[in-house]
């Protein structure tokens, strides 16, 4: 019962907030959705507590049939295992805090019930994703969060940049989703079911299955693993499909905190962990996960070091931290990935909300070059931001330290080349992370004030509806690491996760603590060095950054332009596609295909000047035959395959 309440209360909230404005009034609609979100959070946490107390082993709650065609029979159901319920508890709590925060942050917005309807709807979709009992319902939640993300990025729809970012987010996600959908289809082909229990039970019977692709033969489980992971790459903004995340910062800041930091972007990691019983038998796919994760962590870390928009820095940091989670998951250390996921949800939501508090105080200024010296004017924001920054930088006893260390420990303990690649990227990135978050922190709160005078007059601490949630999250960032460590990745981890995560008995989970001291200490050391460099650059020798940028101008521009991914995609994909679209419309449809009937019509209509018309008609005919030939080749290709 608690699970249903936790999942469906947000849906009710969305409906009330979306349709109830005439009856409830603006404030009424908002507070009803907040109230229902509180209900959801209480139910979510109580549900998890009860699950732990009763010892677990709950059956999925069947709600209704969804699709039933042949043996393709996914249901609407709520899965209740540790993995699902941990995520439900986390999502409902974080979402509830962000709802409360938004009441303050969005107070001056004209259509604020719409904002709350979206937030609640998002929460519902995310909870459906977490409690899915089959791949198709997971996909429902997956696309649902993608949709609401689109709506929220484009919330201020008068802004052209927001609209462009929203469309970009949706389409880039859709590229990943297509791979996901095809992965679902292949799963069904191999297993003849897409229910999780059915798939996982049948994995041993399909270890030797082969699938022919690209003129070669691959293990079927590897192909499934890679396809599903491509979906995860889209949602979790991993390198190649990451370009949407930074632009998504066009949305209101609470959105960035909820969707683009704490919950939605973690869905990819959740998917990989959820599919662990299958992925354990797809070592190639797992190596790919590790490689992409480690590379993304490094890539996004480097880019984060030179950005100037406070939200974009945190966005790249999100991208980078998700890379860490994939790095861990790819190594088979799924519990560690989940540990970091939960810790990250708290401290990253905290960072975004604190950044929102700064932006609020600064009358919507987001450029950290125009801040400085805000620490004294915003003491509470200063304090909580410090907590978040230290957690992100991996300084004990804050939460990031525990999970990041465990990830890198696991990477080192594998003793494989991929593991070492992950470790090296991870340690270097730990330094970068500490550097960019310290840079953000110092440029915002310390250093000389560079605030424009007209803005400076209005700088004020945020209202209590905003500060309350941030302070609570700060406690989370401080404590979630050592409170959850034992359960999540300690000796009892296997009992805690139960059957919800399949951890190989010989996996590196047991070896994390056995690595040499120097290796175990290096992430923390890198973090301290990063902080030190930031302090040197921005406090002790403020002229250094400019000199470094000038000295290494090429590198600086490369990073400032985010490795030129956007430019390359634009030149190679977007503009050619649009040009091709115009070309095939005007030439393909209007001239070639219509040329034939139009030419024939001319022929019959005006038989007297046949000879002349025949020639204009026949050019179209030749072109048409070319098109038919192309089609022939395509058919042949599909036939032979």
């Amino acid at each position: 019962m608690l699970t249903e309440i936790a999942v469906f209360a947000p849906l009710a909230g969305a409906v009330f907030a979306g349709l109830g404005r005439p009856a409830l009034g603006k404030q009424g609609a908002i507070w009803v959705s907040i109230l229902l979100m509180v209900v959801s959070a209480v139910a979510g946490v109580a549900d998890f507590y009860q699950y732990e107390v009763t010892g677990g082993g709950w059956a999925p709650l069947h709600l209704a049939i969804w699709v039933s065609v042949g043996s393709f029979t996914p249901d609407w159901a709520l899965r209740q295992d540790t993995l699902s319920l941990v995520v439900v508890a986390m999502v409902s709590v974080v979402s509830m805090l962000i709802h409360v925060y938004s009441a303050g942050y969005m107070a001056h917005d004209k259509t604020v019930p719409r904002f709350f309807a979206y937030l609640s709807l998002f929460t519902f979709a995310m909870l459906m994703l977490a409690t899915a009992n089959n791949l198709l319902q997971l996909f429902f939640g997956w696309e649902g969060v993608g949709l609401v993300s689109y709506l929220l990025i484009g919330y201020w729809y008068e802004k052209p940049s927001a609209n462009a970012a929203a469309i970009k987010a949706f389409i880039v996600n859709r590229v990943g989703d297509l791979a996901f959908a095809v992965g679902i289809a292949l799963t069904y082909l191999v297993f003849n079911t897409i229910d999780f229990d059915g798939i996982f039970a049948a994995v041993p019977a399909h270890l030797a299955d082969k699938y022919a692709l690209f003129g070669s033969v691959f293990p079927a489980l590897e192909v499934i693993g890679v396809l599903l992971f491509i979906g995860a790459m889209g949602k979790s903004a991993q390198i190649v499909l990451h370009t949407w995340l930074a632009d998504a910062m066009e949305g209101p800041t609470p959105v960035s905190a909820l969707i683009h930091a704490a919950t939605m972007v973690a869905a990819g990691v959740f998917l990989v962990v959820r599919m662990s019983p299958l992925l354990n038998h797809a070592p190639g796919a797992l190596s790919f996960v590790t490689f992409i994760g480690a590379t993304t962590a490094l890539f996004a870390g480097t880019v984060g070091c030179v950005q100037n928009d406070i939200k974009r820095i945190i966005a790249y940091s999100t991208c980078s931290q998700l890379g860490y989670m994939f790095l861990a998951a790819g190594l088979g250390a799924y519990p560690v990935a989940m540990f970091h996921l939960i810790n990250h949800a708290f401290f990253k939501a905290l960072l975004f909300l604190a950044a929102g508090s700064v932006i609020h105080a600064m009358s919507d200024e987001q450029d950290i070059r125009k801040m400085g010296g805000l620490g004294r004017k915003l003491p509470i924001t200063y304090g909580v931001m410090l907590c978040g920054a230290l957690a992100l930088a991996g300084i004990p006893p804050f939460s990031g330290y525990f999970s990041k260390d465990a990830i890198l420990g696991a990477a080192f303990a594998t003793h494989t080349s991929m593991g070492f690649y992950g470790w090296a990227c991870g340690v270097f990135t730990a330094g970068l992370t500490a550097f960019y978050i310290s840079r953000l922190f110092l440029l915002t709160f310390h250093t000389e004030s560079r605030v424009a005078p007209e803005v400076a007059a209005h700088v004020h601490e945020s209202p209590v509806t905003m500060l309350g949630p941030i302070v609570l999250l700060a406690f989370g960032a401080l404590s979630s690491g050592f409170l959850l460590r034992n359960a999540f990745i300690g000796h009892g981890f296997a009992a805690f996760w139960g059957a919800s995560i399949a951890v190989d008995p010989n996996s590196i989970m047991t070896q994390i603590d056995g690595i040499p001291a120097w290796a175990a200490m290096s992430p923390l050391a890198a973090g301290i060095v990063g902080i030190g460099v930031a302090a040197w650059f921005y406090i002790l020798a403020p002229e250094m950054p400019a000199r470094a940028a000038a000295r290494f101008n090429g590198l600086y521009l490369f990073l400032l332009n985010k490795w030129y991914f956007d430019e390359v995609y634009d030149a190679l994909l977007v503009r050619p596609a649009l040009r091709l679209a115009k070309l095939i419309w005007h030439v393909g449809d209007e001239q070639m295909i219509d040329g034939v009937p139009n030419g024939l019509a001319h022929l019959t209509a005006d038989a007297s000047s046949q000879t002349v018309k025949l020639q204009t008609g026949s050019i179209a005919l030749y072109a048409f035959i070319m098109l038919v030939g192309l089609l022939g080749f395509l058919s042949l290709f599909l036939w032979i395959r």
Binding site: I65, W66, V67, S68, V69, G70, S71, F72, F140, E143, G144, L147, Y150, Y157, E158, P160, N163, A166, I167, F170, I171, R174, V175, D177, L178, A181, V182, I184, A185, L186, Y188, L189, V190, A205, H206, A208, D209, K210, A212, L213, A220, A577, A581, K582, I584, W585, D589, I593, P597, A601, F624, L627, V628, L631, L634, S635, L636, L638, W639, R641
Partner: protein, 514 residues
């Protein structure tokens, strides 16, 4: 199975009663117009009532045609007036009677020769229902052709500026295809000695003849289903037809082709269909990718929606020729869902047109601020069109992807490209219509939906969600006939052509059926 009276004939000919009533209307022009509108609406609502009754009485567990009627017509030739519905035709009948009242509501904006319009419209409803109910090939052919006549006048008289061009093109394309089907019809009649569909389906046809018959069917049904490259009549016809005509064309009549493939080509010509499958996949994939790109380049909302329709037809064609339960049911579901979504999208364009706006994308924008309900509904239909889970569009799309995967990875992936490209052009359209700032003065004074517009859009929206969240209410109706169709097909083509089993070894990629 029966209800004690000839319900199908009643449904088919009831609109003709409406026609007769409208023909007798006298009085001044305004009164005739008003009575014609209400008369037509009532006629279609009664048909809808009969349709619901039919649905309730239909027994999905019974195979074969139900409510069957037959009457001697051309005695000695075994051509009879035979009608009946099975799970496949039933839902097309339902779609027709569901959309007719909505289309008639949409024709309230027509002010010129209202009575004539309504007469042609009811004629159209009548022959459309006749075509879907026919279980005799000659009867089917007559209705199939007869659909052209009212449509020809509806576009030609009440259409837009280029209506004559569009009408001629529409007529030439479809006629050319139909003539070939007539030849096929005569041959099959001669071969089987009957035109009863059940007899025709049982009668074996030599594979080499099947090829020629398939070509004839492809020409006819391909044009109707707007299979690439036979599609170019469609954007012109959709764009130039008056709104109710567009709705019927896009939502119902475009299904004639796909219905023909499922009813005739696949069961009667199994070997030829199997052999042509790669070609049909290629056509479907080209439709999805090529047409989606063309849609992306459109500058007019109505044409963009028209092209989106062609792209969906590509998905339907792919689904049919997978010869799997998932694929064919996906195709059928997509037909149903597409009918509802496209009607919703065209009604939304009609909402703008009735406010005196044109539908050029560059002249719209920012409407979300002044028309929030309209914006919500347009967004719902657009999202459904791009296959968002929870809406009807997704169920058909994923079933086709799943079915196609049983045949070929690339068909599945490329056929699914609509997920990306469809999102691209739909989101571009939504932005141009609803978002950004007003592009010109006048837009900010537009009013949100009127009651009649609610009456059109809300049922469509409800259906979109119902189909998306609980599709079983519909799939269980055509589960039986599709399963039978697939089994018959597999039995007919084996062992001549076994589906390529890409997964090996051990995994039997058998078409499991319940």
């Amino acid at each position: 199975m029966g209800v004690g009276f000839p319900i199908l004939s009643l449904m088919i000919f009831l609109p003709l009663v409406g026609v007769a009533f409208l023909a007798t209307l006298r009085g001044d022009e305004a009164a005739v117009a008003r009575n014609a509108r209400w008369g037509a609406l009532w006629s279609s609502v009664v048909s809808l009532g009969l349709g619901i009754f039919l649905w309730l009485k239909f027994d999905p567990s019974v195979a074969g045609y139900q409510f069957a009627e037959s009457d001697t017509w051309l005695s000695g030739l075994d051509v009879q007036y035979r009608v009946g519905v099975d799970g496949i035709s039933l839902f097309l009948v339902e779609l027709t009677v569901f959309l007719s009242p909505i289309a008639i509501l949409a024709s309230w904006s027509i002010t010129r020769r209202v009575r004539d319009f309504m007469i042609f419209f009811l004629l159209l409803e009548s022959v459309t229902l006749g075509m879907f109910c026919a279980t005799d090939f000659v009867i089917f052919y007559i209705f199939f052709e007869a659909v052209l006549i009212p449509m020809y006048f509806i576009i030609g008289i009440w259409g837009g500026e280029r209506r004559i061009y569009a009408t001629v093109k529409f007529f030439l394309f479809t006629m050319a295809g139909s003539v070939l089907m007539l030849v096929a019809l005569v041959w099959m009649w001669h071969n089987a000695g009957s035109t009863d569909l059940t007899v025709l389906t049982r009668t074996k046809i030599p594979p080499d003849v099947q090829t020629w018959l398939f070509v004839a069917f492809l020409a006819s049904f391909g044009v109707k289903a707007a299979v690439w490259p036979l599609h170019t009549w469609l954007p012109d016809a959709y764009a130039e037809a008056p709104l109710p005509g567009t709705i019927m064309l896009a939502a119902v009549l475009s299904k004639m082709g796909a219905y023909g493939f499922i009813r005739f080509a696949v069961p009667m010509l199994p070997q030829a269909s199997q052999a042509a499958a790669p070609l049909m996949f290629a056509l479907g994939v080209v439709a999805v990718i090529y047409i989606s790109l063309v849609a992306l380049a459109q500058t007019d909302m109505k044409r963009l929606v028209a092209y989106s329709s062609v792209a969906h037809m590509g998905v339907i064609v792919i689904g049919i020729f997978t010869f799997t339960v998932e694929g064919i049911e996906g195709a059928l579901f997509q037909m149903l869902s597409h009918g509802i979504i496209i009607a919703g999208l065209f009604v939304c364009t009609g909402v703008l047109l009735s406010r005196g706006e044109d539908t050029a994308l560059s002249r719209l924008g920012g409407l979300a601020a002044v028309m929030p309900v309209f914006a919500t509904l347009l967004m719902l239909f657009s999202l459904a069109s791009m296959g968002l889970p929870g809406t009807s569009g997704f169920v058909g799309e994923i079933l086709v992807i799943v079915g196609a995967m049983k045949v070929n990875f690339w068909v599945s992936l490329l056929g699914g490209m609509g997920m990306v490209l469809g999102a691209a052009f739909m989101l571009v359209m939504l932005r141009a219509v609803l978002f950004d700032k007003f592009t010109r003065p006048g837009l900010e004074s537009l009013k949100d939906l009127r009651p009649a517009e609610y009456a059109m859009l809300v049922p469509l929206a409800v259906m979109t969600l119902w189909l998306g969240i609980y599709p079983v209410s519909f799939t269980h109706i055509f589960d039986g006939p599709v399963t039978a169709l697939v089994q018959a097909h597999v039995a007919a083509v084996q062992p001549a052509a076994v589906l390529p089993a890409a997964v090996q070894p051990g995994v039997a990629v058998a078409m499991e059926t319940k």
